[in-house]
C-alpha cells in the first residue's frame, strides 16, 4: 500500500478505539433520514449518545431486551428504515441469535448489528463479557456481511459503508485503544482486503486490533531478515478470496491473527479458501478454545497468546514448516 494511505505511526503514534470511530461514522450516516438507532441499555458504551441527543426521534431505547430489539429492528426495516442496533456482542448476537437468523437474515433485511466489547476489550469485566465467538456465529448466517475494522478511522468508514450496503451487516467494535494506522485517504471497500505491508516470505492476515499487532510482528521479523506481507482482512464475509490465493501463491504460507476463538473465525475463513484453491501451511493466532478472565487487554492478549509476540512465534513456526514440507 502506498505509504501516504497509512499514518506515520512510528514517528507520530496516536491511538483510538473502533467504538469511537463507529460512533462518529454513525453521526455522518444520520444524514440519511431512514437511519434509526436502537440501544439495549448500552447507549454510552456503544457510542450512541451523540445520535440520541441530536436525533431523539430516531433513537429507540429498547431496555435490556436484545431479542425484542432484533425483532423490532426487522419490523422497522420492513418499512424501509435502516436500523442500527447497539449492544455488547455477547448479548447481541449472543442473546438475539434467534430473531437475527429468522426475522432479519432469512428475510434479508438491512439491519446493522453493532457488537461491542469484542475480543479481550471487555478486559476487567471478565470472560462473560468478552466476545470471542461472534465472528463464527455471524459468518454462518446467510446474507450477512461481517466487518471487523482495524482502527478508529476504518470503523468510521465501515459503518458508512454498511449503511449503503443492502442486507444485514455486522460491525465488530472494541473499547481498547489501538494504533491509528489509517487515515481518511485510506481506501475502504466491503470485501476488499488491504495490503499494509509487502513481503514474499510469508503473509500475516489479521483483523481488528490484530492488524496493528501484525505490523509490529512484521517489524520484528524484518530485523531477522524475514519479509512478511501484512493484509488487513477487515471484511470476514464476503472474504477477499483473490487476496488470500495471491498470498498463498506468492508467499507460500499464511499466519492468521484475530481476537477470537480459533474455531469458525478468520483462521477458519482463510483456511476454507486456501485448502480449496492453493494449499500452503497455515498457522492460527487465536484463543485456543478457552474463555478469558479479568485483566487488562494487554495482559490478556499476552496470556492467551493473541498479540504481536504470538504472531512472531507462529510466523517462525510456519517458516520451519515451509522448509520441511
Amino acid at each position: 500500500m502506498n505509504s501516504k494511505f497509512l499514518n506515520d505511526y512510528l514517528r507520530q503514534p496516536t491511538f483510538g478505539t473502533t467504538r469511537d470511530g463507529f460512533g462518529r461514522g454513525l453521526m455522518e450516516a444520520a444524514e440519511n433520514p431512514q437511519v434509526v438507532v436502537l440501544s439495549a441499555d448500552l447507549t454510552d458504551s456503544m457510542r450512541l449518545q451523540a445520535f440520541k441527543e441530536k436525533f431523539p426521534d430516531r433513537f429507540i431505547a429498547m431496555g435490556v431486551a436484545e431479542e425484542n430489539m432484533m425483532g423490532v429492528a426487522a419490523g422497522l426495516a420492513l418499512r424501509g428504515k435502516i436500523p442500527v442496533t447497539g449492544s455488547f456482542a455477547v448479548f447481541s448476537p449472543g442473546n438475539s441469535l434467534g430473531p437475527l437468523r429468522a426475522s432479519v437474515c432469512y428475510s434479508n433485511l438491512q439491519v446493522i448489528i453493532a457488537g461491542g466489547h469484542t475480543g479481550f476489550s471487555a478486559s476487567q469485566d471478565g470472560a462473560t463479557h468478552q466476545a470471542l465467538e461472534d465472528l463464527a456465529i455471524m459468518r454462518t448466517l446467510p446474507n450477512m456481511t461481517v466487518i471487523s475494522p482495524a482502527d478508529e478511522e476504518e470503523s468510521r468508514k465501515a459503518i458508512l459503508a454498511l449503511i449503503k450496503n443492502p442486507g444485514p451487516g455486522y460491525i465488530r467494535v472494541g473499547k481498547h485503544q489501538s494504533l491509528n494506522l489509517t487515515n481518511p485517504r485510506t481506501p475502504f471497500k466491503i470485501g476488499q482486503a488491504l495490503t499494509f505491508r509487502e513481503g514474499r516470505d510469508l503473509t500475516i492476515v489479521a483483523i481488528g486490533s490484530m492488524v496493528a499487532q501484525a505490523i509490529d510482528a512484521a517489524d520484528v521479523l524484518g530485523t531477522r531478515g524475514i519479509a512478511a506481507r501484512v493484509i488487513n482482512m477487515h471484511t470476514i464475509k464476503p472474504i477477499d478470496q483473490a487476496a488470500i490465493i495471491k498470498a498463498a501463491q506468492e508467499t507460500g504460507g499464511i499466519v492468521t491473527a484475530e481476537e477470537h476463538q480459533k474455531y469458525g473465525g478468520l483462521g477458519a475463513a482463510v483456511a476454507e479458501v486456501v485448502t480449496q484453491n492453493f494449499p500452503v501451511p497455515l498457522e492460527f493466532v487465536a484463543a485456543q478454545d478457552t474463555f478469558g478472565e479479568s485483566g487488562t487487554s494487554r495482559e490478556l492478549m499476552a496470556k492467551y497468546e493473541v498479540d504481536a509476540n504470538a504472531i512472531v512465534r507462529k510466523s517462525l513456526a510456519l517458516l520451519d514448516r515451509k522448509v520441511r514440507e
Binding site: 434509526v36 426521534d57 430516531r58 429507540i60 429498547m62 431496555g63 431486551a65 431479542e67 425484542n68 432484533m70 425483532g71 423490532v72 429492528a73 426487522a74 419490523g75 422497522l76 426495516a77 420492513l78 418499512r79 424501509g80 428504515k81 436500523p83 434467534g98 430473531p99 437468523r101 429468522a102 426475522s103 432469512y106 428475510s107 434479508n108 433485511l109
Partner: protein
C-alpha cells in the same frame, strides 16, 4: 392441503379459520392485485406453523391460484412449511421460530408512526408461544408506547405440542397479565366472525396504547375427532380423515346457512 403434504399442523390452523376470515374479508384494508400497496394494513403471523390457514385465506382473497395450495410443503413450492418474507405475495413477515412475530409488528408499527402513516398492524399469535421470553420483552416494551395502530389477536386454544397449556406452563390469568403490561385487552369467541370484526374495529377508539384481543377457540374446530386434541397440533390428516373432516365442515356450513 395438509393431507397432500403428508405433514403440517392441523389443529391450530383449523381453529383460526374464522379469525382469518374476519381479518382478510372484513377488517384488513388490502389489495390482492397490488400486494405491495402502500396504504395496506399489515397482517403479521407469529405462530408460523399455522400458515395453512394464512395460505388458504390469501388464495381465497386472490393473492395466488387456489390450486397452488396443493403444493404446500413440496420441494420448490411458494407455500413453505413456515412462511417467510418474499416467499409468496401477501406474506408480510418471516415466522416459524415462535415469538418472532410481535417484535416485528412492533417495529413496523413504530416505523408507520415515524412516517405519520395511518396503516394498521395486526399480529396473530398463539397462546403457547406466550411462554417465550421475547414475547414478554415485546409486550412490556409496546405497552408503554402510544402504538394505537397495533393489535394482536391471540389464538387462545389452550393446547401446545406436549399437552394443554395449563398443564405445561399455565398462562392464566392471561387477560390480567396483559392489562398489567398496560395493553387494552378484549376477549372474544374466536369462532364468532362478527365478534372478531367488532373487536378489531373497537380498537380504533383507543388512542394511546396497543390492543390485545384474546380469541377463545377450539383447536380442530368443526371436526369432532380433532377438537381439543393436543395430538392434532402437529400432524396432518390421512386421506380418509381429511375426507371425513371436510364432510363434517361442509355439513356445519350448510347448517349455518339454514
Amino acid at each position: 392441503m395438509l393431507d397432500e403434504a403428508e405433514s403440517g399442523h392441523t389443529g391450530g390452523a383449523l381453529g383460526m379459520a374464522e379469525m382469518f376470515a374476519a381479518l382478510y374479508f372484513s377488517v384488513l384494508r388490502h389489495n390482492p392485485q397490488d400486494p405491495g400497496w402502500d396504504g395496506r394494513d399489515f397482517l403479521f403471523l407469529s405462530n408460523g406453523h399455522t400458515c395453512p390457514i394464512l395460505y388458504a385465506a390469501l388464495a381465497e382473497a386472490g393473492y395466488f391460484p387456489k390450486k397452488e395450495l396443493r403444493t404446500f410443503r413440496r420441494l420448490g413450492t411458494r407455500l413453505q412449511g413456515h412462511p417467510h418474507l418474499g416467499s409468496m405475495p401477501g406474506v408480510e413477515n418471516t415466522s416459524g421460530p415462535l415469538a418472532q412475530g410481535l417484535s416485528q409488528a412492533v417495529g413496523t408499527a413504530i416505523a408507520l408512526k415515524m412516517d405519520k402513516k395511518v396503516n394498521e398492524v395486526f399480529c396473530v399469535m398463539s397462546d403457547g408461544e406466550l411462554q417465550e421470553g421475547q414475547n414478554w420483552e415485546a409486550l412490556l416494551f409496546a405497552g408503554t408506547k402510544p402504538l394505537d395502530n397495533l393489535t394482536i389477536l391471540i389464538d387462545r386454544n389452550f393446547i401446545q405440542i406436549d399437552d394443554h397449556t395449563e398443564a405445561v406452563v399455565p398462562l392464566e390469568p392471561l387477560a390480567e397479565k396483559l392489562s398489567a403490561f398496560n395493553w387494552n385487552v378484549l376477549t372474544v369467541n374466536g369462532h364468532d366472525i362478527t365478534a372478531v370484526v367488532t373487536a378489531c374495529h373497537a380498537t380504533k377508539a383507543i388512542a394511546d396504547r396497543p390492543t390485545a384481543i384474546i380469541c377463545h377457540t377450539i383447536p380442530g374446530y368443526g371436526v369432532d375427532f380433532m377438537e381439543n386434541k393436543p395430538e392434532w397440533h402437529g400432524k396432518p390428516p390421512s386421506r380418509t380423515e381429511a375426507r371425513q373432516a371436510i364432510k363434517q365442515l361442509e355439513a356445519r356450513l350448510l347448517e349455518d346457512h339454514e
